[in-house]
Every structure is written in C-alpha cells, then in structure tokens.
Symmetry: C2
Subunit: 310 residues, 2 copies
Amino acid sequence: MTRRKIALAGIGKIATDQHIPTLASSPDWELAAAVSRHGRVEGVPNFTDMDEMLAAHPEVGTVSLCMPPVPRFAYAEAALKAGRNVMLEKPPGATLSEVHALENLAREAGVVLYATWHSREAAFVAPAAAWLKGRRLKRFTVTWKEDVRKWHPGQDWVFEPGGMGVFDPGINALSIVTAILPDPIHVTRATLEMPENRQTPIAATLAFHHPQGAEVTATMDWDHSGDDVWRIEAVTDGGTMTLDRGGAEMRIDGSVQSAGDGLHGEYPRLYAQMARLVEDGRSDVDLSPARHVWDAMTLGRRKIVAPFHW
Amino acid sequence: MTRRKIALAGIGKIATDQHIPTLASSPDWELAAAVSRHGRVEGVPNFTDMDEMLAAHPEVGTVSLCMPPVPRFAYAEAALKAGRNVMLEKPPGATLSEVHALENLAREAGVVLYATWHSREAAFVAPAAAWLKGRRLKRFTVTWKEDVRKWHPGQDWVFEPGGMGVFDPGINALSIVTAILPDPIHVTRATLEMPENRQTPIAATLAFHHPQGAEVTATMDWDHSGDDVWRIEAVTDGGTMTLDRGGAEMRIDGSVQSAGDGLHGEYPRLYAQMARLVEDGRSDVDLSPARHVWDAMTLGRRKIVAPFHW
C-alpha cells in the first residue's frame, strides 16, 4: 500500500523525540514536509510558513501539529480550511471553545480531526479498563510527579497562560483516568500552587465527585527530584490494581501482569490510529481529559508559592 | 389550567428580589415549598434539608435552584435523582463537567433541566440578534461595570473559588453576546485582576477570535462607582447598534428603538419558558456563556491588585 503523505509542524522537543522517529518507520505515513519557525527536519522540504507549505504541497493530505497549545490554533485553522486532515498533540487546544471551533471547521471541510492522547496508548491502559469494569471502586488515587527541568528544560511557555503548568504532564494521567474509569467523575475541589513569578501551577491536588461515592483524588508535582512517579492505584471490592510508569506496568494485588502482543509504543499506535481514522473519514475528539484540567483551573484555590527558576 | 407545583431552594437575595415575586404572580406555577439553610418564604412549608422536602412533597414536580453555583450541584443531583424537573439560576454550575453530570442525570430520570440566562430575556436581545444577522461585523465591544458592594453586599462567596468574581455579572453580558452574535467566537487573550486577598477576579479584559476577523473585546469591572454600565456596541457595515442597560434599551445609529409587545420582565419570561419546557418534556442547557468564562479563567493572565474589602 502506498503510504499517505503527511507534514509535521512545530519541530521542537516532542517532534524530535517522538514524531519524527515514529514517522520514519511508519508503514502508513510518509513525512513529506515540515513547518517550523526554528526547527528543521533533514531530508524533506522545510517551511517557516504554514500557508506556503499548504500551497506548495497539495499532495499532503494530513498535517500533524506538535507546537504548544496557544499558537497551535492558527496552524490547525489554516490546515483545516485548506482541506487537510489534522492530528493534534495533547492537549488539543488552549480552551474548550477553540477546540469546538476546530471541530466545526473539520466538519465543514469534510476532513478528519484527531485529538491524540499518547498516554492512552500505553500497554496496560486497555487491560486496566477491562479489569475495573464490573468491580466496585472504593478508592482511586493518582500520583504524578516529575521534574519539569528534566522534561521541559528552559521551555518558559509551560508557565505562560495556556501552557498548563503541572497539568501538562497531569493531563496524561487524566487521559488514562478517563479511559479506564467506567463512571464519569468531576472535580469538586482543587488546590493550585502558583510560583509567584509564573502564570500556571507547579503543583496541584484535585478531589473528584464519583457517582458511587468512591474517594477519587490526584496529586501532581512538577518540582519533584528523583525518579518520575506516574502511578494510578485503584482499590476495589475485588482487589487492588496499580498502574505504574504511566501505564507501562500493571500489578494486581502486587503481582506484575504481562502485556499482550500487538503494536507497542505510544506514538506508533497514535499514527496507526490516525491512518484508520483517515481511511474511515472519522474524527476523534474526546475532550474529557482537558475538561478536568479546565475545571481545575476554573475552580482551583490558588496558593502563591516560591518563585520558579530553571 | 391548574398551576404546576414548584419548590424554591436557596432563599437569598436573588430569590427574594426576583423568584418569589415572579412566582407570586405566575399563571403557570404555584410555589408549594421552600428549602433553605437560612432564608424562609412566608406562607409555604419551609425545609432546611432538600431530601426531606422531596420526600414530604411528591406533588412538587419541579425545583428551582437559587443558591450559589458551588453548593448547587448537590441540590440539583438530589432533585434529579428524585425525578423532579430542575431549573438552574445562572451560571448553571461551577464547572463544565458537573453540568454534564447533571445533563446525564436528567436524561436518565427522563425529566427537564433548564439552565437559565435571565439577561437573554431582556426586551432587546431578540431584536438585536435580528438586526445583526446579515450585517458584516467590524467591531464588537462589551462594557460591563457595576459595584459589587451594591449588588452583592457582604457576599464573600463571589470571591471564593467557583464564585466567578466579576464574571458573575460578566456572564450576563456573555449570555447576551452568545445569543445575538451570528458567528461563534472564542477567547484568545484575557487579563484577570485578582485582589491579593481573594480567589476570583474583580476586573477582566477579554479579546476574542472572530471567524470574519472582527475586533471583539470585553471589559468588565466590579469595582466601579457611579451608575451601572451594561453596554454592548456593534459596529457593522450597515450601521452601529448599541444595547444598553443590559438589553433593556437599544439604539441604531443613535436613534432609540421601541420594544414590541409581549411578556416583559426577565424572570417572568424564564418561568414561562420553564413551563413550556416541562409541557414539551424538553431540556435547555446552553453552556456557551459559561464556556467563555471557564476559558478566560483557564487562559487568563493573572495580575495581583490591591486587596478587596467590603
């Protein structure tokens, strides 16, 4: 089968770490162009302007967007208006309304919009969802701690409005939570620790309403030293499940589970899914992980903490 | 026609100023019970506990909720689970996800949920929408200024998380904006002035993306002395329209317009609409005004300003 031509826009850390190597070995996609103000991809035509790339490459039917959420809207709008399918890094936008606007544009243009959640593609997310189904939840605890200096060195945009702060990694947790919990939850209380020189939280604690009264909480910290902690623990009437390393590891009552076969790697699975969506002409925009972040940003009690410096 | 029995919950300022007098002269509704921790309504059974009222008054098919948004969810949940129709003061909830939860409960129970926006019932909102339709918008300016000490004297909840601050009145403006603008807009930039001793903004400026490139902005101030300013101005290729006094007055190129006949008064119109919705078994939950507030709370740049004291 001929591979579909795709362009990558926003050539920064996540593009270099994940998107470019994934596309290089993809059976579905051929990287045909790149758009970036600063970055470049070797071996393909590079552009600094999205409209120029769209005009020069009518054969590129799909554009994958990797830049931060605030500037991303304009690129997505341009690509959709030019009739191209669009794949969005997480989070799908800076606000709910702008994602609704993109959904409308995609519908009008008759193209596919895919809001990706890479953490949902971790090996044990589907097994965790299957295990939780039918069990009665008592306690559900999310612990997400990493060092922003390690994962986003010098990237000031994460602390600017719309950059989401600790919710940049925290939304990965929430994308798993919303994929594995059988019942809908909503934030009822949040504390946001705001460095006095920054606009987004560096740490947060969330409490959720659960329809059957389970105690659902999340603790997120971006100023954490030592190993990353990406853990979800579910205590049920039928045992305790722990997802660790962001869904790459699962234990049931302490016993390590083994993953099934199939395509491994979060980004290879995202691009395989995008190929299926384009084949079927079907969009996939699930906003539930972002909704919890936006709710926490709206409802959270802000506590000013020490300034953050790189 | 027999009037339907309704209960009112949350007997505070807005209930006393608007809901009780409106229900007293409503052709559709008979106030049959009240629920409030502190307030009372003369001449009907009063309860402090929602579940007790629901159990004692199975003939009350509809409950109207007037308490602040954060505590409101629990009351709405109880009423919906007990199979009663629910009418919500604005804003419909503290977060997007909790309103989605209420929508699901209403659907499951087969009852009506109505998220009211009283400012949309002002006399000139529908004429303004009709006038704007088909004209090309160039500039659209919202100015919403009032004194919180006059409208919410001593009500600390407005400055607590979920209380919305200046967006408590500002959402009235946004409920009109979203009713009269033919095209969807979304917040792209917001500045929030946060009193250093409070959790919600006392002033805000918003800039919106408009699909045809019109300049759309809003200025909101809750620390305003002098007359209230509740104004929306639309400059188009076919003249300038000004809505004033929150939609009670309209001018086209300076000439004052006169209102048509029909039911006047925002709250009488809300209760007439609730009667129609119950008659038809139809819910009405439009979240677009709240979405812009939640977007601004998420994306806004916070600027610490002088402490606020009553």
